[in-house]
């Protein structure tokens, strides 16, 4: 079965198989025979891969697997390629301003229907106790401003949507 794994923003498509005696994960860098066995600790496992045994702790979340290994914690995003293909196209990313971090809307400078020029301030947000002004990524017409002044938003929420270019 195939999976797309995301580590630090980099995606790798992998294939898991079993050759009768062991699992083999095929990554873009080659095939890795591997085996994972639980230890007594919560989430504790021994991973045997590449001829070595590694102690780790892991937890499987709905969209990502969290791995603590050698004193560091990593997040491995899991994407089912089939689901990605089935996903709807939500518009070109250049049409949207996506929240770079969670925060609160301080001021909203434009309304749906307004014509804006590239670089024009659209809204001021506050995150981590700092103000940031978000500007139009291109010339265009505002389609949606989903948040009002004082509203809280989450990471990756759409803060402003431009109408598609003609």
């Amino acid at each position: 079965m195939r999976r797309i794994f995301q580590i630090d923003g980099e995606e790798s498509e992998c294939w898991l198989a079993h050759d009768g005696s062991r699992f083999v994960l095929t990554t873009p860098d080659g095939a890795v025979p591997c085996q994972l066995d639980p230890t007594g600790l919560p989430g504790g496992h021994i991973l045997r891969a590449g001829g070595r045994a590694h102690e780790l702790r892991l937890a499987v979340g709905p969209e990502a697997t969290f791995v603590h290994i050698s004193g560091r914690t990593y997040e491995v995003g899991r994407v089912d390629p089939a689901e990605r293909l089935a996903g709807r196209d939500a518009g070109a990313s250049g049409d949207r301003l996506v929240a770079p971090m969670p925060g609160v809307v301080v001021t909203v400078a434009v309304r749906p229907g307004d014509t804006v020029a590239e670089g024009q301030p659209l809204l001021v947000i506050e995150s981590m106790k700092l103000e940031t002004t978000l500007t139009a990524p291109r010339d265009g017409v505002i389609a949606e401003m989903p948040f009002a002044e004082g509203d809280s938003f989450g990471l990756k929420d759409v803060l402003a949507q431009l109408a598609p270019e003609e």
């Binding site: 050759d19 994972l36 103000e131």
Partner: protein, 489 residues
């Protein structure tokens, strides 16, 4: 006056920490909980939990009348404010006084004086203690910009009513001065409801050194030595230690005595911290006084052996200080790491998520003041600090080694934390030699967030083999085809 039932008007790790001492002293204990808040360690420790409500969780913890009413209703005869929220709110102290409830902290006058940075500075300067060159808007608003200019660049703009680095701006060029003043004013108005500003000379590559003091309100003040808090991101501390590696014994004596002198000048009552900017040439200047228990107070407890919350409770109950200056040692070395839900590699963006697995370190010289539970949820409702890891060692090298070991074994899975980043700081040669300033994290940003060895193959193997759907599907394919699938698909 005696205290028999204590309400802790706070949450998270500090509520849990205060409750432990209060219970050990035989007090009945109550803690607050917002109706939408996750259960935390404090709710399990307290004898009772008082529910509060408000438009947002933070607003509820700032709601003076609701909290005073809760204290009365539950029969608490004292309130410990923790840090943040209402801990430095003179109106809260006055409201408690009126309700006949003891505030575990300083008088409202001391909070008023020290809460206004400008008045505090003037007070300290008038008494001959050192302050950095500055210009204060209120002295003559019409000439503020010119007077700011005269202080000289680089300079730092601060809101008069500020704290915690909010609204602070460094200005290096005259052309940016007026715009930065306007931005700082807006931020000051929003955060503190007060747009008044002052500027002071920005000391290049300074250290932040502060001194723990404790007063009985009668003019007796002792200090519990210094803490070095130069490891800051965005003006907020994330690693603190004591003793400071920068100070000679003579300098240590001088800075600690200065702090105690300032506290004595206000007949300070309870626990407080006098913060200083320490310049490269060894000069130090009064920065501000925090009229509460600090986040980083545990390092002081580790080297002195004193429980500062117990001292606070003693003083609040009118029992005075438990020790004379000569009885307060500074043994060994202690370091605190603030474990925060944030992505250090993405500009310290706050992280949210469900805690899927939590395993906190233990061991000799290791203390964890935690505000989270396994299965908890990390939201943006509150500060991103989840817990504090505090270690003690015979000397600084041993403390660093223990801190590294412990932070590497601090397992929080499900939400991004800064444990790896904290370890990278501890591993940095400049940290090891103690050669740091408040600019250290910004200057070393690239080194500190550099990716480690590429172990993607291991991570992907772990993720694949723990993925039940993937494993099930592979095992369902008839054996002879299992491998072939890989070729044909």
């Amino acid at each position: 006056m005696t205290i028999s039932k204590l309400l802790v008007a706070n949450r998270g790790e500090i509520a849990a920490r205060v409750l432990r001492t209060a219970k050990a002293r035989g007090l009945a204990t109550v803690v607050l909980r917002h109706v939408a808040e996750q259960e935390g360690p404090a709710h399990l420790i307290a004898d009772e939990v008082a529910m509060i409500d408000g438009p947002t969780p933070v607003a509820a913890y700032l709601d003076i009348s609701q909290i005073v009413a809760a204290a009365k209703k539950i029969g608490a005869d004292a309130v410990h404010p923790g840090y943040g929220f209402l801990s430095e709110n003179a109106g809260f102290v006055a409201a408690l006084e009126e309700a006949g409830v003891t505030f575990v902290g300083p008088t409202s006058q001391a909070i008023d004086l020290m809460g206004d940075k400008v008045r505090a500075r003037a007070f300290v300067e008038e008494r001959g203690f050192p302050v950095a060159p500055s210009a204060i808007e209120d002295d003559d608003p019409a000439t503020f910009v010119d007077r700011a200019r005269a202080v000289g660049y680089p300079l730092l703009i601060k809101p008069s009513a500020g704290g915690g680095g909010k609204g602070m701006r460094v200005v290096r060029e005259d052309s940016a001065l007026e715009t930065e003043i306007e931005t700082a004013r807006r931020e000051g108005e929003r955060y503190f409801g007060d747009g008044r500003l002052f500027v002071e000379r920005y000391i290049e590559s300074p250290r932040h050194i502060e001194v723990q003091v404790m007063g009985d309100g009668q003019g007796n003040v002792v200090h519990f030595w210094e803490r070095e808090c130069s490891i800051q991101r965005r003006f907020q501390k994330i690693i603190e230690e004591t003793p400071s590696p920068a100070l000679s014994p003579e300098q240590r004596q001088e800075i600690c005595e200065t702090a105690a002198g300032i506290a004595r000048a206000v007949k300070y009552r309870g626990a407080g911290t006098v913060e200083f900017i320490y310049a490269r040439d060894g000069a130090f200047y009064f920065l501000e006084m925090n009229t509460r228990l600090q986040v980083e107070h545990p390092v002081t407890e580790m080297v002195t052996g004193f429980d500062l919350v117990a001292e606070q409770l003693r003083v609040a109950a009118g029992q005075g200080l438990s020790a004379a200056q000569g009885d307060i040692p500074q043994n060994g070395h202690s370091i605190e790491l603030r474990i925060c839900a944030e992505d250090a590699g993405a500009d310290f963006r706050p992280a949210i998520g469900d805690i899927l697995l939590l395993d906190e370190p233990t061991g000799e010289g290791v203390r964890v003041d935690s505000g989270i539970l396994d299965d908890g949820k990390v939201t943006t409702d509150f500060d991103p600090m989840l817990s504090k890891l505090i270690v003690h060692g015979a000397d600084r090298a041993e403390a660093i080694a223990r801190a590294r070991q412990a932070v590497q074994n601090y397992v929080v899975l499900g939400v991004t934390t800064n444990t790896g980043y904290l370890d990278a700081i501890l591993a940095h040669p400049d940290f090891a030699s103690g050669e740091v300033s408040t600019g250290f994290l910004a200057e070393q940003a690239e080194t500190l967030t550099a990716p480690g060895a590429d172990i993607s193959d291991l991570l992907m193997a772990a993720a694949a083999l723990s993925d039940a759907r993937m494993v099930d599907e592979v095992m369902q394919i008839p054996q002879m085809h299992r491998k072939m699938g890989g070729w044909t698909n």
